[in-house]
């Protein structure tokens, strides 16, 4: 688990916006993951998606990493910002787009 946690730490540091999800952005395997990707696409920032179904060792590690029991999980600038409900709520409040655009430097 320690190695996987280190890899996660590197992923969220090296990519400005990362989503850990079930399936891929083109073929999400869960409604919550699909809804989260939908919001990120609507805002139009580049993001890295990691399919925890294809990397099962990350499925439990990511929950430990963030102390968060569910997937998807979104990281911006190395920081965990929430799952599907929080991402949708921040988007509805107009808070998500500025955060993401600031993180990707545009």
């Amino acid at each position: 688990m320690a190695d996987v946690l280190k890899e996660i730490e590197r992923e969220v540091r090296e990519n400005r916006v990362v989503v850990y999800m079930k399936g891929t952005p083109s073929f999400p395997m869960c409604g919550f993951s699909a809804a989260t990707v939908e919001v990120l696409r609507e805002i139009g920032v580049p993001f890295k998606a990691i399919d925890i179904l294809a990397e099962p060792e990350k499925r439990d590690a990511i929950k430990v990493y963030s102390n968060w029991p569910t997937i998807p999980q979104v990281y911006v600038g190395g920081k965990f910002i929430g799952g599907c409900d929080i991402v949708r709520e921040m988007h509805a409040r107009g808070e998500l787009a500025p955060l993401l655009r600031a993180a990707v430097g545009g």
Binding site: W68, F80, D85
Partner: protein, 74 residues
């Protein structure tokens, strides 16, 4: 599987003054919409608020397939 009543009781045990609404969205006991309003959320981020609820749900979480959560500080 679990029930709205079990979910409510688990949250109440951790956040006794919270106002809690639980809806079983499919009627099958595994998809729920949960709204929690609590004074304990004041000064906490949304992530921290949700973490408090997840901690309260603890052992129920593996029995819930899908949980939509909305938290508000009172």
């Amino acid at each position: 599987m679990t029930s709205p009543e079990e979910i409510r009781r688990a949250i109440e045990a951790a956040l006794p003054e919270a106002r809690i609404d639980v809806a079983d969205t499919t009627g099958a006991g595994d998809h729920f919409d949960v709204t929690v309003k609590a004074a304990a959320f004041v000064g906490r981020t949304l992530v921290e608020q949700h973490q408090l609820v997840y901690q309260a749900l603890g052992g129920l979480m593996p029995r819930i397939h899908a949980l939509s959560l909305r938290t508000t500080a009172l």
